[in-house]
Amino acid sequence: MALDKAGWTRDQMAARAAQELEDGFYVNLGIGIPTLVANHIPDGINVTLQSENGMLGMGPFPTEDEVDADLINAGKQTITTLPKSSFFDSATSFAMIRGGHIDLSILGAMEVSENGDIANWMIPGKMVKGMGGAMDLVAGVKRCIALFDHTNKRGESKFIKACTLPLTGQNCIHMVVTDLGVFDRKSGQARFRLRELAPGIDLEEVRSKTEADVIWS
């Protein structure tokens, strides 16, 4: 797939993010590319996926025979249980999230700023969908990874100095994984640092496509 194009495909981005999973982690995956992370959980790593509509231990999509309208994930897709699964109400689900019990959240972004702000829920005057659980996730989960295309359709950087769209959360993103590479930072006030370049991508290209002030070496 798309190996002729430099940089990571969506699936490869998901696979790279999946390398951040650790044994025993409880993880919430956002809608879109983050959902693909579930397909790349490394062998020997036991991860429990939370779905914020009220489930721990999310299983794979069902076969036709298994489809159950009462069993969906937060993307409203039909899913299945695993032996370890449990169901609970929305207040309990967000007690897990807000209370810091989820180890890792991997979510999409429209913009991420150099100080770790994220915008991914609203385009004023254009899109009226709502934030769903995203604001709770970025405020409550111990570590948040934003997974997004480095630039928009017009080639403009989405990893920028300051978000222009309404924020989902402030100073909450700890790692950025794009089609071009990986950046991370310590919590708090630390700057992002380039950690890894995607195959076929050179430093000059990433620098030119990154508005955020990051540590390049």
């Binding site: 509509n53 039909t78 109400d89 999230i97 807000r98 969908k129």
Partner: protein
């Protein structure tokens, strides 16, 4: 003293008044009280404030109340599946208050639990925090963090869908169809539950009742269509 009603419209009798606030359970179309929503639509009650995580889809679920313009205001976390909603909102015909999903769930729980307000980190530094009281609390590291005050939510009428229920109002829910319904049951002045099955009192294990009967005033058995928004399957 049985809480059982025979039809959804019987169960909603006297509750569908203009201007009331209604909580409606469900996440997407999963676990929505289809028959009670339809009864609410048939009542013609208007100027409703509806508290629900989502707004249904065009023509189904709460989408039915939007089509007939019975809704004045929605309090929701995500309404992306509904074009009529977007049209009415952008046209200024509908008020909309977005709440982060966890804040919405907790506000409803608080309303039902006699808690008028609580503090949360969710939304600090965003549009959601504008105009809300900010307050600092120390965290376990001894650092200070800023939180915002959110208030409890109550409703005149709560409508929910459960799996099984009995004449005392005890309810159990199935899988992820549970979602907001248990909290909403606690926050309605009158809570009406439609269930897949009414079972004899004593047949639900007291250790595993999700919603104790004290929170449910009326119950009706009704058949749900249970539409699926994203039927996603793998090879068998």
């Amino acid at each position: 003293m049985s809480k059982i009603y025979q039809t959804a419209s019987d169960a909603m009798a006297g509750l569908c008044k203009d201007g009331v606030t209604v909580m409606s359970g469900g996440f997407g179309l999963c676990g929505i009280p289809e028959n009670l929503i339809a009864a609410m639509r048939d009542s013609g009650a208007k100027d409703l404030t509806v508290i629900s995580n989502n707004a249904g889809v065009d023509g189904f679920g709460l989408g039915q109340l939007l089509e007939t313009k019975q809704v004045k205001k929605m309090i929701s976390s995500y309404v992306g599946e509904n074009k009529e909603f977007e049209r009415q909102y952008l046209g200024g015909e509908l008020e909309l208050e977005f709440n982060p999903q966890g804040t919405l769930a907790e506000r409803i729980r608080a309303g039902g639990a006699g808690i008028p307000g609580f503090y949360t980190k969710t939304g600090v530094g965003t549009l959601i925090a504008e105009g809300k009281e900010h307050k600092d609390f120390p965290n376990s590291n001894g650092d200070v963090e800023t939180f915002i005050l959110e208030t409890g939510l109550k409703a005149d009428v709560t409508i929910i869908k459960a799996w099984k229920g009995d004449a005392e109002g005890n309810l159990i829910f199935k899988a992820t169809a549970r979602n907001f319904s248990p909290m909403m049951a606690t926050a309605g002045t009158v809570t009406v539950a439609e269930v897949d099955e009414i079972v004899p009192v004593g047949s639900l294990d007291p250790n595993f009742i999700h919603t104790p009967g004290i929170f449910v005033q009326r119950i009706v058995q009704a058949k749900c269509e249970k539409r699926i928004e994203q039927r996603t399957v793998r090879e068998g």
